[in-house]
């Protein structure tokens, strides 16, 4: 018996010794990427994968400044042209060298991607100047060229060209159905994929030829498992079955914070959750005083503190702090007395009835927030008939504008204020696509003009002033009801040093992760 135990200890210690150099990170997200093609779906999952297997031209630092990646440096050579100088000596996983033609190829593919082409609409072309220099050219002066360069993850154009054994064009971008690029990948990123069982596990291995020799990252293997249920994900971390989880469900934050073996990091995110008041359906909502009354009746702080358990920052505007349009003066304004007097002034002291729709599995605690908001509106005699739906059924209803009040959360893909206004607040226009998610049908020509004007302004300070003006108009008009910015949370076991690699975009730079 004792001999047997000793043997066991010996084997165990050998196992530890041999794994000292090789660090494996066991990672659990709520879902795994649905495709390996970086252009198939514009989603957090795709971008997280892109940062592991590919590298962008530039990327955001934690403070939202830009960090050179595959572009070593850049310069604005004309109001509508930014020249990028590519890093030399970078190779793809296939062994092919990174050249300007790969960037041009990738850019052209982005322009064809149904999901990404909207973002790249202001761009005219990418042009190779020489093997290591590329110009990104926009149709007119455009202030967000660099913001969009964070979406350019050069793909290996040689690897993705030609036909595969099934005769499919390797470059093909298929939204629905299998393609070469949805199962095969060659990027310049810190990791290659060695094993993939969709929905079960995805295994990454560090790329030996990775160009970034200065990266402190020491993880040699990542095993990513999707765990959909929040409590199970937390339990897997607590029991030591995984090392790193995201997202962390708000209900478990206290429990993880209290644990000595777990590092929990929360951060204010940039997704804003709002309510929209449909002026087409409800004549009363056309009265600014009624909208103002509603904004004053909703207790944002209460929702953030009680329902979100501090896991949200109450919002009075769309742009979170740090965005050019953010104005500190525009704070939430809960004041029930004032709300009642506004209703009285508008002649609706007796109130009225409306319908409301909210998703129940899209945003953190979405349906609870909706219930609370409905209860708050009851206090100014607005009777709310609330219906909550799973997101798959919610969106068709949203598109049909099937209720008087809609809940919607929005994240700005450009990390810029104008994006919020373009989708949520500009007058809905099918042909231009502006106001696509403006379920309040709020229309203000002045605001439209200002937002359009901001799209061609390259003077940062002047542009910020203008975008702040946009926020002020929305605030004073009570065009919609901002509730809060949802927070982000990650948790890892002690020794997995996640703090330096996570950021407000929720794209952990796992290539730089250090595990003790």
């Amino acid at each position: 018996m004792r001999l047997w135990l000793m043997a066991l200890v010996l084997v165990a210690s050998l196992g530890i010794a041999s794994s000292a150099g090789a660090k494996t990170l066991r990672l659990a997200y709520d879902a795994d990427p649905i495709s390996l093609d970086p252009h198939q779906q514009l989603s957090g999952g795709t971008l997280q994968l892109s940062h592991m297997v590919f590298d962008p031209l530039v990327r955001w630092r934690k403070d939202l400044s830009l960090e050179p990646r595959l572009a070593e440096r850049w310069e604005q050579i004309a109001p509508n042209v930014v020249r990028f100088y590519l890093r030399r000596g970078v190779t793809f996983h296939s062994g092919n060298p990174l050249e300007a033609k790969d960037v041009v190829w990738t850019f052209n593919r982005l322009k064809q991607s149904p999901d990404f082409k909207g973002l790249f609409e202001p761009f005219e072309a990418a042009r190779a100047v020489d093997d290591h220099t590329v110009d990104l050219v926009t149709k007119g002066p455009y202030p967000l060229i660099l913001n969009l360069a964070t979406y350019v993850f050069p793909m290996d154009s040689v690897f993705y060209s030609g036909k595969d054994e099934r005769g499919r064009d390797k470059s093909e971008l298929v939204k629905h159905g299998a393609s070469f690029a949805s199962d095969n990948v060659s990027g310049t990123g810190p990791f290659t994929i060695t094993e993939r069982e969709q929905g079960i596990r995805l295994v990454f291995k560090r790329f030996d030829e990775y160009w970034d020799r200065d990266s402190p990252g020491n993880v040699s293997e990542i095993v990513m498992t999707p765990i959909k249920e929040g409590p199970t994900r937390v339990a897997a971390l607590l029991s030591g079955d995984v090392d790193f989880i995201a997202p962390v469900p708000p209900a478990d934050l206290q429990r993880l914070k209290a644990s000595d073996e777990i590092v929990l990091i929360t951060m204010r995110g940039s997704r804003v959750v709002t309510l929209q008041l449909n002026q087409d359906r409800v004549p009363q909502f056309r009265d600014k005083r009624v909208r103002q009354a509603i904004v004053h009746a909703i207790n944002n702080e209460g929702i953030a503190a009680k329902i979100m358990r501090g896991f949200a920052t109450p919002a009075g505007q769309l742009s979170p702090p740090g965005y050019p349009g953010h104005d500190d003066a525009l704070s939430p304004r809960h004041d029930l007395r004032h709300a009642r007097s506004l209703m009285k002034e508008a002649g609706y002291e007796q109130g009225f009835s409306v319908t409301m729709l909210a998703p129940n599995n899209r945003y953190v605690n979405d349906y609870k927030i909706a219930e609370a908001a409905a209860a708050m509106l009851a206090k100014i005699n607005i009777k709310v008939d609330l219906k909550t739906l799973p997101k798959a059924q919610f969106w068709p209803q949203f598109d049909a504008r099937a209720a008087d009040i809609m809940m919607i959360g929005w994240y700005s893909d450009t990390e810029d204020s104008a994006n919020f206004a373009e989708f949520l607040a500009m007058s809905p226009d099918k042909s231009s696509g502006y106001g696509q998610y403006n379920a309040g049908n709020y229309k203000n020509p002045t605001l439209d003009r200002l937002v359009l004007q901001s799209q061609t302004m390259t003077d940062k300070a002047a542009r910020a002033t203008l975008l702040q003006q946009v926020e002020r108009i929305l605030y004073e008009d009570a065009a919609l009801v901002p509730l809060h910015w949802q927070h982000l949370a990650w948790a890892a076991r002690k020794g997995v040093n996640i703090e330096p690699v996570i950021n407000v975009m929720n794209m952990p730079f796992l290539g730089d992760l250090v595990v003790e």
Binding site: G118, H176, T225, K228, A392, Q393, Y437
Partner: protein
């Protein structure tokens, strides 16, 4: 099966629009409509149904939007995981409910019997979701004995990936199987007890005692065998219920089986996968019921298919 397919296809419209999940929030209306057209979602219901039936006859239940592979193939690749989970849970139910039920029937007034019956009430009333989370909290988080999620290491035997042949796979099976069985165990303990009490009260048992047979023969050969018929019937039917509960159990434990896949498909409005699941589960129900009928012949001394019983 035709009825099942019609119903499955009938609810399709209310399952939601898959294009948002596929295309992302920022995709324009135009892009989404193009995608709908490509998926054939804009055709009239009858056209879509006819197309579905035509393909189904050839064994093609459509292509999953998310997996981008034939839906039937995706479902069947998850079947082993679910099968092993149900098998393990049924074994637990069978192995525990028989002795416990027998004990309670033979010693109805003992403290242990009362404790078992009391616990079984508790077992019935706790939702399986909670049972699962409790089990994870106690056995994985607090005691650190068993893994909290997934299937662990699997061994491939042909197309079948089994978790039953490795220690890791078996360790991963314990908690989900326990949780799943918790929903059936109380029911079967009560059933075994009730049936046995009934049977033990009958004349032929008294005759058996009078013949001077040893107690174990009276209880098992005469008692249990006659009590077993309703048990098998109900067991077969409840196997279906067990299959339904795998949806919750698999979701709690991130068990990569058909039930987990189904819930995920519902969330993503992956319609072909949902319909394929309904069809496959329907087929399983039909098969089980047929098997139950066959089992009758083997167990019930009164039913025979013309073969002379002893």
């Amino acid at each position: 099966m035709a009825v099942i397919s019609t119903i499955g296809f009938g609810v399709k419209a209310s399952l939601g629009d898959p294009t948002r999940e596929l295309a992302g929030d920022a995709a324009s209306q135009v892009e989404r409509e193009a995608l709908r057209a490509r998926l054939g979602l804009d055709d009239p219901w009858s056209v879509q149904y006819a197309r579905f039936l035509g393909n189904a006859v050839r064994g093609d239940l459509g292509t999953s939007y998310v997996f981008k592979r034939p839906a039937l193939e995706v479902i069947l690749s998850k079947f082993p995981a679910t099968f092993e989970l149900v098998l393990a849970a049924s074994l637990i139910v069978a192995l525990l409910s028989l002795p416990a039920g027998l004990y309670c029937a033979l010693n109805p007034n003992s403290i242990a019997a009362r404790a078992i019956m009391g616990l079984s009430v508790l077992g019935i009333s706790v939702p399986i979701f909670l049972t699962g989370i409790f089990a994870i909290t106690i056995f994985s988080v607090e005691l650190g004995l068993l893994p909290s999620f997934g299937r662990g290491e699997t061994v491939a035997i042909g197309p079948w990936r089994t978790g039953l042949l490795s220690a890791d796979g078996l360790a991963h099976l314990v908690l989900p199987a326990m949780t799943l069985s918790s929903i059936m165990l109380p029911l079967f303990i009560r059933l075994v007890r009730g049936q046995m009490l009934d049977v033990l009260d009958q004349d032929f048992i008294r005759t058996a005692w009078a013949k001077g047979l040893p107690p174990w023969r009276v209880w098992l050969s005469h008692g249990l065998r006659n009590a077993a018929i309703p048990l098998v019937t109900l067991g077969g039917l409840q196997l279906g219920t067990l299959l339904a509960y795998t949806i919750l159990t698999e979701t709690v434990f991130q068990w990569p089986g058909m039930g987990f896949l189904f819930l995920d498909a519902v969330n993503r409005a992956d319609v072909p996968l949902i319909i394929a699941y309904i069809m496959v589960v329907g087929a399983i129900f039909v098969t089980i019921n047929t098997l139950v009928d066959v089992l009758y012949v083997l167990i019930d001394p009164r039913v025979s298919l013309g073969v002379q019983a002893r």
